[in-house]
């Protein structure tokens, strides 16, 4: 074969008018390892979903652009079709049957079979499995990965690293495999396993299999890839050879954006006025599935806006959830020098902290209740506001309505009135209700998680401006967690980067992009590890 194995030309994808891919061009030669790097939300997964013909793409209006596979046009419309053409994909989440053996998982639905008496009557489906051949095939696939493991072991109970290898072995076992997509394969692996994996990726490439390799880990990219494509906000910012690239350069490209931070300039003067931290976090561990925190130490100064950044899954979201008692946490939290018991929402609320959850519809709102009820109920139950005493404590409808009206006006919540159900509001207005709810508690410290997630572009700015205004005018200290670095950099005074559940470092918002990229990719942690 002479031409490229895969060519994706001018791929564009929109979700409801929101462009998530803007003209991506990628071409992969046979035997080439092509790395795709980018932040969360840069469009990597969408691109792979298009390549793999996932239903989510077609259910949302399809894509524009042209895909050619082995020189012929290939509008892939379903994962089955993609598999038939010889495209294999290893997903970030494992798709294995835990109760089955490694061999069964590798050969699932592609089992070699032998005819028997029943199959001659009832047809193919009743044929006997050819177990010895299945074992041979499975063993061979595992060996190609340099993995010495009994193929008859159950998958349940294997270390995660091995599960990753089993996934890859399954794809390798498909004799037609020509292009393998690995979606962040090293994310769950230890350094050693990751190295083995990279070696086997190289070996596959030498056998002529093309590999699309998606990752955050920049050092890996340099060591394994033949070509590197960097995506950012759905745009293809660069495609280069590893020889032209350095970790710093990639990091800068990945984070990109020259950000104008207008806001924090006026504050530098009073930054040294207060030296006593308002909130100090010591050795915080939070067991939040998918966002585990493994020992964060952090101090929050009064009056500041502190940002918590980092890649998804590294635990930045776990910090606020742990402090507010949503997930089991351990460590030491002190507010104004007073220690706060953990794992108790009420203790956290009573110490002057409030939380706007990232799960707006799940945790943040009573969707079936009115705007008014949403705003007042938390303050009523935790602080006894909006009540009057008549033998028993009754709701004080008058003060509640007055407060709600004021909040609607102050925060500019667009609704038909305090009685409207929050379910009927737009995302931006729902978020405002969440913020109003938190403000009703009159907090000293406000935790805000992913405040602009799922909100349209115009409303995003409004929410951010609102937070700044609260901070400046009412003196509320804000700890904002966000996956969007540009957002953090536009309003925060300091930004703490969380990597693998620990504090990687604290940066000022106008630090270089390269520094941000490196920290988010955990360069420091890797260096520390290498040194020790």
């Amino acid at each position: 074969m002479t031409g490229p194995r895969l060519e994706m030309k001018n791929i564009t994808k929109e979700y409801f008018g929101n462009k998530v891919l803007k003209g991506i061009n990628i071409s992969v030669q046979p035997g080439e390892v092509h790395a795709i790097v980018g932040e969360n939300g840069a469009g990597k997964s969408t691109l792979m979903n298009i390549l793999f013909g996932m239903p989510v793409i077609h259910n949302t209006g399809g894509y524009k652009g042209k895909i050619t596979f082995n020189g012929s046009s290939a509008p892939i419309s379903s994962p089955e079709e993609a598999m038939e053409m010889g495209i294999g994909m290893v997903h970030q989440e494992f798709m294995l049957l835990p109760g089955f053996t490694i061999m069964e998982n590798i050969k699932l639905n592609r089992e070699p079979t032998l005819p028997n008496i029943w199959s001659s009557i009832f047809g193919e489906k009743m044929r006997t499995l050819d177990i010895p051949r299945m074992r041979r095939d499975a063993k061979a696939a595992l060996e190609r990965l340099d993995l010495n493991i009994d193929e008859m072991l159950q998958v349940a109970g294997l270390p995660v690293g091995f599960m990753q290898f089993v996934e890859i072995a399954r794809e390798l076992d498909k004799t037609s495999l020509q292009l393998l997509v690995l979606d962040e394969p090293t994310a769950v692996l230890t350094e050693n396993d990751a190295e083995t994996l990279l070696k086997s990726v190289r070996r596959m490439a030498n056998e002529g299999i093309s590999v699309l390799f998606i990752t955050h880990r920049l050092d890996e990219v340099l060591s394994v890839a033949d070509r590197i494509t960097v995506l950012r906000d759905g745009e293809q910012v660069a495609t280069m050879n590893p020889s032209e690239a350095t970790v710093e350069k990639l990091a800068e490209l990945m984070v990109g954006r020259k950000i104008k931070s207008i806001l924090h300039k006026d504050r530098e003067a009073d930054s040294d006025r207060n030296t006593q931290p308002l909130l100090s976090i010591k050795n915080l561990h939070v067991q939040m599935p998918g966002e585990e925190v493994n020992g964060v130490d952090l101090e929050v100064m009064p009056g500041e806006i502190l940002g918590l950044g980092g890649l998804a899954g590294h635990g930045k979201i776990g910090v606020a959830n742990g402090i507010m008692g949503f997930y089991p946490a351990s460590g030491e939290i002190t507010v104004k020098g007073k220690q706060i018991p953990l794992n108790s929402s009420i203790a956290s609320l009573n110490s002057g902290m409030a939380f706007v959850s990232e799960d707006r519809r799940g945790v943040g709102l009573l969707l079936e209740e009115s705007v008014e009820m949403n705003i007042i109920v938390q303050a009523m139950q935790s602080q006894g506001k909006f009540l009057k005493r008549r033998i028993i404590e009754m709701m004080d409808a008058k003060t509640a309505r007055k407060h709600t009206d004021r909040m609607i006006k102050d925060l500019d919540i667009r609704c038909t009135g305090p009685e409207q159900l929050t379910r009927r509001l737009s995302g931006g207005n729902q978020q405002k209700v969440c913020i109003a709810k938190a403000l009703t508690l009159e907090p000293n410290i406000l935790f805000v998680s992913e405040p602009t997630r799922g909100i349209d572009v115009g409303a995003k700015r409004l929410i951010l401006d609102l937070l700044v205004e609260l901070n400046r005018k009412s003196g509320v200290t804000i700890v904002m967690t966000s996956s969007e670095l540009s957002e953090l950099r536009s309003i925060c005074d300091r930004i703490a980067i969380i990597y693998k559940g620990r504090l990687e470092g604290i940066l000022s918002p106008d630090e270089s992009n390269a520094k941000y990229g490196l920290m988010m990719a955990g360069a420091l942690a890797h260096k520390r590890k290498a040194a020790s």
């Binding site: 979700y15 409801f16 929101n18 507010m324 949503f326 108790s344 929402s345 009420i346 609320l349 009573n350 939380f355 959850s357 799960d359 799940g362 945790v363 943040g364 709102l365 009573l366 969707l367 079936e368 209740e369 009820m373 109920v377 938390q378 009523m380 139950q381 935790s382 006894g384 009540l387 028993i392 404590e393 009754m394 709701m395 409808a397 667009r414 609704c415 038909t416 409207q420 379910r423 009927r424 509001l425 737009s426 995302g427 799922g454 909100i455 349209d456």
Partner: protein, 361 residues
């Protein structure tokens, strides 16, 4: 991102009609149409309308509190109280105690109500702990718990050392009868209190007042700090936790109030009915109460006093009116079949609508 950019202005008339239609629900429209059809046929068949209307009022009042019992249970997030037979048996125990103690009239009635409420609350409290262990399966567990309790109580009725000759089997001298008459005890005490005739329709004033009292009480309760906490827990347990509320505690409170209301409800029911029925009789009583509140517009997650009032009225009216109509038009006993079809059908309908009472677009 799919973002619903709805509503920033007042809804138009068309939207309002659509909203009303959605809020009201297809099921209720059908039931309502059916009721009107029945009333029209009753009128055409020249049935005694005064008697029918009197009967509607009485049955509305006597079933009302049993239906109200669904509200705290739904509000606290445990769904309609299918384990209502638990409260019902408590109420029956209270009535038998009042007879055993040779009480009659209002003293007997209020004694029964008081004891029923206490017993109902106590068992409801304990039942709440069970509910907290089976989150997500309250409906199934509740149904079977109700069935089990009825069977278990069969042993109690048979073995309890009651002595009153009005209640025990005439032969053998031990064990309670299946049906116990109340006419010399608490029978009709509420119905006859301040009752008057209005164009031939008998209005059971005392009964309706007593029901209204409970409606008001429950409505006031829903405005208290505890009442609001209760419905917060039911609407969104995660939100409630984030407000520092103890979700399990409020679920227990919901169960306690619900069973207490169920116990009081059966006392009111029995005084109007004139009998108490023991053994297997309470087995399906929960279903009619559940069906009533659902017809009234409640969902598995949200209910108000209005839903209970409307639902009880619709459900009981259909029963009362359909009985004589069906007897003439089709055959004897068809009314009971209709009752079962309607009640089970409406429960099925509500269970298949996962989210709300039918207005989640």
């Amino acid at each position: 991102m799919p973002e619903e950019c709805l509503i920033s202005q007042k809804p138009t008339l068309k939207e309002r009609i659509l909203d009303f239609y959605r809020d009201f629900g297809v099921a209720r429209l059908i039931i309502f149409a059916f009721l009107i059809f029945l009333l029209a046929s009753a009128f055409a068949l020249k049935l005694p309308m005064e008697q029918i209307l009197s009967s509607v009022l009485t049955r509305f009042g006597m079933n009302g509190i049993l239906v109200l019992a669904m509200i705290p249970s739904i509000q606290s997030g445990t769904g309609p109280n299918f384990a209502l037979p638990l409260g019902i048996t408590c109420g029956i125990v209270a009535i038998t105690l009042s007879i055993e103690l040779n009480m009659a009239g209002f003293s007997g009635f209020f004694f029964s109500v008081g004891v029923a409420a206490l017993l109902g609350a106590a068992t409801g409290f304990l039942y709440g702990f069970l509910l907290n262990r089976v989150k997500g399966q309250e409906l199934t567990v509740g149904t079977y718990f109700g069935f089990s309790i009825v069977s278990l109580m069969c042993i109690f009725w048979f073995l309890a050392p009651y002595k009153s000759p009005e209640m025990i089997w005439p032969y053998g001298g031990s064990g309670l009868r299946v049906t116990i008459a109340l006419q010399d005890r608490i029978g009709k005490v509420l119905d006859n209190f301040l009752a008057f005739d209005f164009f031939g329709v008998t209005v059971p004033t005392g009964l309706l007042l007593f029901f209204a009292l409970f409606c008001t009480g429950l409505w006031l309760f829903s405005r208290t700090r505890t009442g609001i906490a209760l419905s917060t827990v039911g609407t969104n347990p995660k939100f409630a936790e984030s407000s520092g509320l103890n979700v399990n505690r409020y679920r227990i409170i919901g169960s306690t109030i619900s069973q207490a209301l169920g116990a009081v409800g059966i006392v009111v029911y029995a005084q109007s009915f004139g009998f108490i029925q023991l053994y297997m009789a309470p087995l399906f009583m929960a279903f009619f109460a559940v069906a009533s509140i659902l017809i009234g517009g409640a969902s598995l997650k949200k209910s108000t006093v209005t839903h209970a009032v409307i639902g009880t009225f619709l459900f009981q009216s259909i029963l009362v009116v359909s009985m004589p109509v069906a007897n003439i038009v089709v055959a004897d006993n068809i009314a009971d079949v209709i009752r079962i079809i309607i009640s089970n059908g409406i429960i099925l309908y509500a269970l298949t609508r996962k989210e709300t009472g039918g207005d989640l677009s």
